[in-house]
Amino acid sequence: MTTVASARRYDAIVIGGGHNGLVNGAYLAKAGLRVLIIERRHLVGGAAITEELLPGFHFTTFSYALSLLRPDIVHELELPKHGFMPIEMPTTFAPMENGDHLLLGTDRNLNIHEIARHSPHDADAYDQYHHDMSRVCQALKPLLDRVPPNLFGTEPDDLAEMAELARHLRGIDRKVMHDAVRLLTGSAADFLDDYFESDILKGLLSSSSIIGTKVGPRSAGSGLVLLYHNIGEYDGSFGTWAFHKGGNGGFTQVLARAATAFGAEIVLDAPVANVITRNGRATGVALADGTELEANVVVSSLDPRRTFTQLVDPRELPSDLVENITRYRFQGTSAKVNFALSGLPRYPALGERTDQYRGFTNIGPSMDYLERAYDEAKYGWFSSRPYIDACIQSTVDPDMAPPGQHVMSCFVQYAPYHLKGNDWETQRQPFGDNVQATIDSFFPGFHDLVLHREVVTPLDIERVVGLSEGNIFAGEFFAPQMYFFRPAPGWNQYRTPIAGYYQCGSGTHPGGCVTGGPGQLASRQILKDLSAPSRPGSAG
């Protein structure tokens, strides 16, 4: 990796060295193209980075765990050769406000007894829920791994792809399809209430229904978020997560090594000013320092707002697309608070035990708790009792912190991008204090362990990573912004109205999280277009 491109002309230039940019560049290079990946910052990874903010303490500043990464990418890009190492996170710990807890692990029978402690009814309901959810995931997973059809297309390919989709959907079992529709359109609460009675289990499971999205578990639309997170898999098991060696920054370093091994070139510290177009066709990019680089194919891994209204002149685009992108919903609502700790917190009910921290610690003890946290966000403020997805990653990968000490990543909701009558610079520390106080309320004495605290607001996510309004998914998970419509009706196949200009970021199908899917599927589309000169990279 350098800061100066070695040539003036490439077959393809990928704007943005986040995980999707790297995946896209790696696939294009693997196919034999001369590829340049351009990153604005001094390191690749985008939102998937690991930074040593304090000597020996490695923080996953933004993205912090791995699950939705498409398994094909691991093989096709030969990631194990380059250090891919998804370490199992064997526990999930959910503390409760009354001092009790729910601790789940990898042993199904132990889980049954642990759940039965809270509700005997929920014990086998949990198995049923997992089974039903797995069947929905199984049915929908193939849709994640394919370029979605263009619902509005009239080319023979479009019709064939729609027919193929119809065939797939018709093959889905009646109950599974109904569950899928309930999840895709309804609330997580409605779905979970059918199975469970205990607050703690519903709190834990519905936490996945709000991540990164401005919904509460009782909002329509939360079911979709719940489903999306469950389609993630780890070693063949849906809904489970791993921690990559060295954090998600460790993962994007693996991707960078793979991309480079396939021949892609990566330049750092090279902000792009704009995409150069000529006669409706992309011909290259102009860097902020005035350098112009030429390419037949330019791929933006940035979010749709930047891709369509900042990198190119929106006047070159159809007005309905611009209109759709303008109203495309970002409204980031998540923040991170990361800690360096001198030791592991203790949970009073568990005494000196600390093995409960080998996975996620979910502070979201009931749907009421989550819904109340959301209420405040509706009115423009951060939650006074926030939802916190905490992860002491050094318990799984000791290299993340000095011996005996720890790093703790806390994903926090809700933290609306727009604070009513105030701003994030003013509220940064009060927000951080509030998160720390919330953790302290579950883990007395937690504050004594804190060596360092890093507060990452939605504004920081926007400024540092470039994700508009700090939305971690490059646009909300919201039915009108998914599949046929991600990021806009008719533009869901990674192409743009400008020939040779493509999109490959999380604002495209399948969407956010560290899936790599957008980067991979966009490369398929680009390579398909390049091999069919009659349709050179433009559609609509």
Partner: protein, 399 residues
Amino acid sequence: MVRTTPFHDRLSALNETGLWVHWSGHLSALKYQPSEKFEYFAIRNTAAIFDTSPLYKYRIRGRDAEWFLAGVLARDIRACRPGRAQYTIWCDERGFVVEDGVVLRFSEDEFLLSAAEPNLAYFRRLAGAAAVEIDDVSSEMASLAFQGPKSREILATLVPEVAELGFFHHTPAKIGGSPVTISRTGYTGDLGYELWMDAGDALAVWDALWEAGRGRGVVPFGNAALLMARIEAGLLLINVDFHSSRFAFNDHERSTPVELGLGWMFRDVDKSDRRFIGRDAIRRELAAGAPRWKMMGLLVDWQDYAHRYEEGGLIPPKDSTPTAWEMMLYGEGGERVGYATSFMYSPMLQRHIALARLQPDVAAPGSRVNLEVTINHRYELVGADVARLPLFSPARKTA
């Protein structure tokens, strides 16, 4: 009555699962906490401890000890100088493998041989009038494997000279005030060490090692994680990947060193006048170059595997627990070409892998074979590529 090892007091306190297997008549943890994969990742990412005390251990001493072992063991022990260790096998006179083990050489006339099965009578019978004493010290000695990328760094805080200890070298040292021998050996295919000590010193050594690993993510690991690591590492297991020729009913149950991929032990056999059991048969087999089988690795075609299960309406299982049975291999024409002896999903390689015996004509790396799996109660074939062993071999193992 099942026995416990000298470390049992510590290990039983750490075993949250209550799951033990019987290994050579001793309790040996299957896993210490519910996830064997967590223990496995400690081997691959940090360092982890395994109690190997149930191994059979023989002290072989005396003026003729080298001469005796040079004739009994198939690999030339004379190349193993004091301070070195050697992985070795012993064969019968027809060149079939009896067993394998690791020898530590302490001096010109003192050796320690460890093996999975009892061999005392076998060795003593072969000693004849030689000036050699063979003692079973299995109960007198305890042993631990300390394996993983951080093992050197952590062990060096107790024994600084470990930092310089070469692959298959060993050194005397003191841990927790007790004398130990530390060898750079193991059964995980990773950077790692084995510690050998008097049984009476076991707990003192354990406590010192455990303390050194505190805060470093060191965990004990059980048989489940060990078996995962050893398959990735291409290390053979008796009664799984091969059987002792001593107890075979026919030659189908027997294996030659060449068939097990151990032909490299005999590179210089023609230049040497060393007489050892099986020499002539092994030389004949090497000269003929036509073994019945070749032991190779398999990398299962991930796409093919996923498709077969998905077509069957199932979620493709990715189970890291090795299968305990043989799985048949077929060629493109449907003919039988071999069988897999150890099959599992490898978390490091993110693939199903296997150790397999293949007919030589399909054993070249990159050859394609079909592995028989059972899907919806029917035999189905999934493609697999032949690969060299070991399938996982990090540079740190020998560096």
